[in-house]
Amino acid sequence: MAIKDYLRQKFFPHMWCPGCGHGIVLNSMLRAVEELGFSKNEIVMVSGIGCSSRISGYVDFHSLHTLHGRALAFATGVKMSQPELNVIVPMGDGDALAIGGNHFIHAARRNIAMTAVVMNNRIYGMTGGQYSPLSGYGAIATTAPYTNIDHDFDIVELSKAAGATYVARTTTYHAQQMTKILKEAILHDGFSVVEVLTQCPTYFGRKNKLGSAADMMEYYKKNTTPIGSKAKAENPDLLERGVFVRKDLPEYCSEYDKVIETAMKGRS
């Protein structure tokens, strides 16, 4: 299927600002789905609210545009009722880890098969650039005009600790790596988390004087490195990219089926 056939063309032009990284995530995601050869009807995209969550409006899959922070809870309901569907949950960093933080850790703990894509632009883009739990100490935001004193989460460490069985990180600069990772994550039978560093030139970039969208992507290029690289050993400040966790543990829906089977003792 041609990539464009996965788009809901009538919703274009999209609402993202010029240079916004969210469009690159959409691009890599569609390529992943195309390369996996999924038909539109095998995929459900469940999103919350935010610029990132608008992605569900632009894809011609089954899509649920839900409440801010609640996408994973809705998605859990979808997956439990129709386990054969592939569930992808794109979220902003605020959506996933501020208002939705509780759902995030519990979905990971259950190891329910779905792919959580955290589009981390370190800010609340949609509401105008307030700091998020990913902005980090020292960042500037409309609600922290001098400096932010909140420390940020490390999404990879958090996901690992919460029990996610597939955890990866990439950036919008590394669009091909993103496609590769997303493919693996979608196929993974368990809860997978893909953190994508994505630029919000309009708020995070402007407030923190990071230059244009291209400059911000350049920053991702210069300041990240593959996991365990020599560069990392020489410069520990570099942020690692790649797959951090890939393990097989019993998946929630399958386990649930087993419980039913046991309870029914062979009766149908």
């Binding site: 501020a98 208002i99 509401t127 609600t143 001098y146």
Partner: protein, 389 residues
């Protein structure tokens, strides 16, 4: 000092001058401008306050409850889904008798994502024990926010100042910005009735068994019943300093009116124009503007509407399975009045749709030309007549 302010910033200015000590909020359109300005004032040192930027509205109200329990003046702001998420804490704050003030920008609830004007969000919180005051313009938003602190602190109940999304929150108007010294005269420092104090420790919000719970609830109602009088006193004190007053309700050209439109929010301003226009054509139209919704000003409404010929309530909200919410309340307030005029209910302007002078003229004419209401509510300005199932 006269200045031009965005409606949201009229609220921020009032909060700044009220010298609140703690605020907490989570961003949501169209409320965000209110707290954004405040966070800047705090950061710049123009306010001696703490701003707690939390991870959801639920946490925002919880943080404010914590702060208010410590005996300081507190504020938060929200809208729509944010208010809905706070619901549990709204009950909590009023029953804990904490004088919190909140600005709530009326916005529609989803799905059918919609960020525009609709009153169902705040009206759905009518049973939470919060005083609710609806405002018409930026000046009233500023003044009512100041009054809100005065009123809340006089009876230990939280106050919600409710303003229209965009029509008020995002438009600019000339506003008379008070002097700080005048605000201080009107609103002295908070003398908390409830305050966590290490020298006299006590336990808050403990178990209330059947033997005491009912009395506690009756006490909240007694405070609500006293609220209209307290509000009148707040207004007298406010007028003494600032020369303005609004009233829990305001009657415009009602004395000889054949049809009285009941209005709230910015649509009341539109209606003032319509009253003027139609009066000049010899039509006997009047308007009752409702500012106070909780407590519902039953006595004032009976006095002003009890002997009216026809009442037409314009609701920018809806209670599914019943009718417009203001209409319900007006009907209930009038049902024991001996003359009990017919009350027509109209639904208009949901989800940000405009209520224009023509909408109100149509409502006036429909009411004038009908003897008795044919239905609980008439939906005005629908683009499709047929319902889909």
């Amino acid at each position: 000092m006269k200045t031009v302010l965005e409606g949201s910033h009229a609220v921020s200015e009032a909060v700044r001058m009220a010298r609140i000590q703690v605020m907490s909020a989570y961003p949501i359109t169209p409320q965000t401008h209110i707290v954004e300005a405040l966070s800047e004032y705090v950061a710049e040192g123009r306010m001696d306050a703490r701003f707690i930027c939390v991870e959801s509205e639920h946490s925002a109200m919880a943080a404010v409850i914590g702060a208010a329990s410590g005996g300081v003046r507190t504020f938060t702001a929200t809208s729509s889904h944010g208010l809905a998420l706070m619901h549990e804490l709204l009950h909590w704050s009023s029953a804990a008798r904490l004088p919190i003030v909140m600005a709530e920008v009326n916005r529609a609830l989803g799905p059918g994502w919609n960020i525009w004007m609709d009153q169902t969000d705040s009206l759905a919180q009518r049973d939470t024990g919060w005083i609710q005051l609806y405002v018409e313009d930026a000046q009233e938003a500023l003044d009512t926010t100041l009054q809100g602190f005065h009123l809340a602190e006089s009876i230990n109940l939280p106050v919600m100042v409710v303003l229209d999304a965009f029509f008020l929150s995002h438009t600019y108007e000339p506003v008379d910005l008070p002097e700080q010294a005048d605000v201080d005269r009107f609103l002295p420092a908070l003398k908390p009735r409830i305050r966590l104090d290490t020298r006299t420790p006590f336990a808050m919000s403990q178990m209330a068994p059947p033997g005491v719970y009912m009395e506690m609830r009756r006490d909240i109602q007694s405070a609500m019943e006293r609220a209209p009088d307290h509000f009148a006193r707040t207004e007298v004190a406010f007028e003494k300093v600032f020369g303005r007053r609004y009233g829990a309700v305001e009657a415009v050209a009602c004395e000889d009116a054949e049809v009285i439109l009941v209005m709230t929010g910015t649509a009341a301003s539109t209606c003032r124009q319509v009253v003027e226009d139609l009066r000049s054509e010899g039509e006997k139209i009047g308007m009752l503007k409702l500012k106070m919704f909780r407590p519902f000003p039953v006595n004032a409404i009976r006095k002003l509407l009890g002997d009216a010929r026809k009442v037409a309530v314009v609701d920018r909200n809806f209670s599914f399975g019943a009718s417009g919410i203001f209409a319900q309340e007006i009907r209930a307030a009038l049902c024991n009045h001996p003359n009990h005029p017919p009350v027509f209910g109209y639904i208009a302007g949901l989800g940000g749709r405009d209520i224009t002078p023509d909408t109100l003229k149509e409502i006036y004419r429909m009411t004038r030309d009908t003897d008795h209401p044919q239905a609980e509510s008439v939906w005005v300005g629908l683009t499709t007549e047929k319902e889909s199932r």
